[in-house]
Amino acid sequence: MSIDLHGPGLWYATRATGLVSMLLLTGSVLFGLLVAGRFSSARWPRFLTQGMHRSISLMVLAFLALHIGTTVLDSYTSISLAAAFVPFASSYKAGWLSLGAVALDLIIALVVTSLLRGRLGYRAWRRLHWLAYACWPVAIAHGLGIGTDRSVTWVIAVTLACLGGVGAVAAWRVLSFGAQ
């Protein structure tokens, strides 16, 4: 089996992994908010919320690796590997692509600091982790701006659902925090 670097296969893969990454990242943010807001019920223990947050965050990283890999390998656009990490390293839709690079850098920073949380200390980690609230909207904007499928109805619906979900849980989080 060989990978056709010129056909549309990689392009489809880029779009698909991009969409899945958006869903997973949204899931990670949702579960992160639930951890911070101390959600629990008789059937849903707290460690499960946190376990989901962790596992989904690591899956985000895996899907982003695929997303970037297929993008770089795809010869239709000439996006270098560097452009995935460094803003404005590519001329192709430089603005929207840069948002993706920024979001990726933030996600890597969030994951690495979380894995090193024990060494970093709680306070420093907590401050850094606020970056998540900046990272998620940047990633969504990247998808809306550059995504091939951004005008497909169901993709718009999914994106809106992500926005609505995070908005609702964030509101719950703020309210539950106030109540404590």
Partner: protein, 79 residues
Amino acid sequence: MRLRVNPIACTGHGMCAELLPELITLDPWGYPLLASEMVPQALAGHARRAADACPTLALLADDSFVAGPGVRHGRRHAG
């Protein structure tokens, strides 16, 4: 292994009691009560997981303490 709670850092998320119910229960206000500071070898993995899961890093699992059979307070490794 020896468990300790940093009571200043602890904000009562209660995850430790879910992950290590053998040794940790919650008081009426949601803060952890340790049945014993010394962790039996069989529970060491669970204890480490509970310490790792603590959202505020308030549960400390100290590996330099080893509980031997019948040793109540544990001993620190020499060196």
